[in-house]
């Protein structure tokens, strides 16, 4: 096959925007509710026009009453193992809900899955706007990120990569053919802040604009993106008997997400005022610093390596190219 400088990728026929996967992360809850309301208010005439981007808006957790979860974290229920396997009367609510979402938006890993899932989240950490994905070579996600960078120069923007296989990937965004979490902070859980809400609204709009532009045939030029790949987590120091934490994130580390943490740098401050320092060998980039929901997961902060990824130019496949691709896919399936 002839090498082409511009990668041709299939059209994004359906996009899902999901909010409230964690019921107390309110920007996404209210944004999706508003988008659903706006959709309902569209008149019948306008309805008959083709939608710019076929869009599914999903409130992941409609029964939620402003808690992160009822039985278990919904955003950990999308591994292949969780999605298959037997159910009983004791099956946690979120596992059942995950399977419903997998039917609606997936099935995960299949030809019928939606093309793109954008799952909306908030964090108490000072992370600005982050796209979090399982791949560092999903060119769709990377180009969306580059587009956001151009359109939203006033907000700190980062691309985070968790190096986890598709089988083990556990979050809702892994159900689509492409997917990412759009994580914005800092915002306390149970609170909606205007600046955070507006940033999320703009981020979603720019993403949808990009998808429309992509589907209409635009070419997106190559370029570099700084990718932060998660390396490890660090837990709080804890009392060996009670497991309660014995220190807080150090004031010099608090709010310093993505500022390089060097060996010997301050990590924690004990309740008596002592400083505990980072003992690792490698300077790394901290993020999810002091995220409320991670205390129970044993994570005080996560650490990432940064590297530049070269993102190739892309455009949408023409109908001919799409047909050729489908034929090849069909014959591969036969084999």
């Amino acid at each position: 096959m002839e090498e082409d400088k511009v990668l041709c990728l299939p059209r994004l026929s359906q996009v899902a925007v999901c909010g409230g996967t964690h019921g107390n992360e309110l920007s996404g809850v209210y944004l999706v509710r508003e988008l659903l309301k706006a959709k309902k208010n569209v008149t019948k005439q306008e309805d008959e026009e083709e939608e710019a981007v076929p869009l599914l808006m999903v409130l992941s957790h409609p029964l939620q009453q402003c808690f992160r979860y009822i039985d278990t974290d919904l955003n950990r229920c999308f591994t292949h193992a969780s999605l298959s396997g037997p159910m009983s009367g004791m099956t946690p609510y979120e596992i059942i809900r995950a399977r419903q979402l997998n039917t609606m938006l997936g099935p995960k890993g299949s030809h019928g899955a939606v093309d793109l899932v954008c799952d909306l989240h908030n964090t108490t950490a000072n992370m600005g706007l982050c796209l979090i994905t399982y791949s560092d070579c999903d060119w769709i996600c990377l180009h969306i990120f580059r587009h956001l960078q151009k359109q939203m120069p006033d907000i700190p923007l980062r691309y985070i990569h968790f190096d986890v296989s598709n089988k083990e990937s556990y979050s809702l965004d892994s159900v689509g053919k492409h997917g990412f979490a759009m994580e914005i902070g800092p915002q306390p859980h149970g609170v909606v802040r205007s600046n955070i809400y507006m940033a999320m609204k703009a981020g979603v709009q720019h993403m949808l604009d990009w998808v429309q532009s992509f589907n209409s045939g635009s070419t997106f030029e190559e370029g570099f993106v700084d990718v932060f790949t998660m390396v490890k987590h660090i837990d709080y120091p804890r009392d060996s008997e009670t497991r309660t934490i014995t220190a807080a994130i150090h004031p010099q580390l608090q709010d310093q997400d993505f500022c390089l943490l060097r060996p010997g740098g301050p990590l924690f401050q004990t309740f008596s005022g002592e400083t505990l320092r980072y003992k690792g060998d490698e300077p790394l980039y901290p993020f999810f610093i002091n995220e409320c929901a991670y205390y129970e997961k044993g994570i005080a902060l996560s650490l990432a390596r940064k590297r530049q990824v070269m993102v190739p130019a892309i455009r949408v496949q023409t109908e001919q190219e799409q047909q050729a691709n489908n034929q090849r896919f069909a014959s591969e399936e036969e084999e």
Partner: protein, 310 residues
């Protein structure tokens, strides 16, 4: 003004975790209990985790807000088997440190709280008695890292609903902003400093120091403002306006923006010019309060020293 004297204050009760997810107070009390802190000089200290089940679950409350259970009516009513956990707990705390309004009640109770609002360090009380005013003045003169303010809830004691109303003198130390369920070192350090200064004042007072009177400003509660809501669903239809967000205690004048509707329109403040506080406090969404409003007053108070029995 004439000099005032008061009997010594030999005991202070320090409460944390009245709301189980307000972490500074939880960890201050836990640390004091771990270090077995029972005295600060001449002052005896009792520490208590007010709502241990909520602390365990890291939630504001289990059945109902503990810090609304201390009205005279609720404290005198019966406790049935089906009574909410927090109501039982309120009765227990009232028995231990009250009874509220009686001679047996403890002299001083200090309740530790956090808020998601940008309120710095605030002392909240029902009655501006000379003890509270002097402690406030002392803290304010020493704390330089954040603004220090005094808020009076203009509610008669019989209807006073929070834990500190059980004691003869009581106030809350409220520090923010801090998300619920999160422990920030800077916020912890501010609360610890305020508490240490309170204990320092008590020791000095008990040992005979005279504290000069003077003038302080305080904020007295006037009313609450709710979010704009959908009349059918009751859901909020707006966020606190960016120009009001984080601007607690900045004068709100008629015409100033208060809310940004999801539809994009701005809602403006009407009526008297007042001082907003508890702006966008997480726990108040369900209480239908987006922010509270206060008038600023100036209080004059006398010098004070301990009255020694002969």
């Amino acid at each position: 003004m004439e000099h005032a004297t008061f009997p010594p204050l030999p005991l202070v009760v320090i409460c944390g975790g009245t709301h189980g997810n307000e972490m500074s107070g939880v960890y201050i009390v836990r640390e004091m209990q771990k270090q077995k802190v029972e005295k600060a000089g001449s002052v005896s200290i009792t520490t208590v985790l007010s709502n241990p089940r909520a602390v365990e679950a890291c939630k504001r409350y289990i059945d109902t807000d503990l810090n609304r259970c201390f009205t005279d009516a609720l404290l005198s009513g019966p406790i049935t088997d089906s009574a909410p956990y927090e109501l039982r707990r309120a009765h227990e705390l009232n028995a231990q440190f009250g009874p509220k309004g009686s001679e047996e009640a403890v002299d001083l109770l200090c309740d530790l709280h956090n808020t998601t609002a940008n309120m710095g360090l605030s002392l909240i009380c029902y009655s501006l008695d000379w003890i509270t005013l002097h402690i406030y003045k002392y803290i304010q003169s020493k704390v330089t890292s954040v603004p220090v303010r005094l808020i009076q809830l203009t509610i008669p004691i019989s209807e006073a609903y929070s834990l500190e109303s059980v004691a003869k003198h009581g106030f809350s130390i409220e520090v923010g902003p801090q998300p619920g369920g999160v422990l920030r070192a800077d916020i912890f350090n501010i609360m610890k400093e305020a508490l240490d200064l309170t204990l320092e004042w008590l020791q000095k007072f008990n040992s005979g120091s005279t504290f000069e009177g003077g003038e302080v400003e305080a904020y007295t509660l006037v009313g609450n403002v709710d979010y704009p809501r959908d009349p059918m669903t009751g859901e909020i239809t707006a966020v606190v306006h960016p120009q009001l967000q984080d601007n607690d205690f900045k004068l709100l004048q008629p015409g100033d923006p208060t809310f940004l509707l999801f539809s994009g329109k701005t809602v403006k403040h009407e009526g008297e010019e007042l001082y907003p506080f508890f702006v966008n406090e997480c726990a108040y969404y369900e209480k239908k309060v987006a922010f509270q409003l206060a008038r600023k007053i100036t209080l004059t108070f006398p010098s004070i020293s301990v009255k020694l029995d002969r």
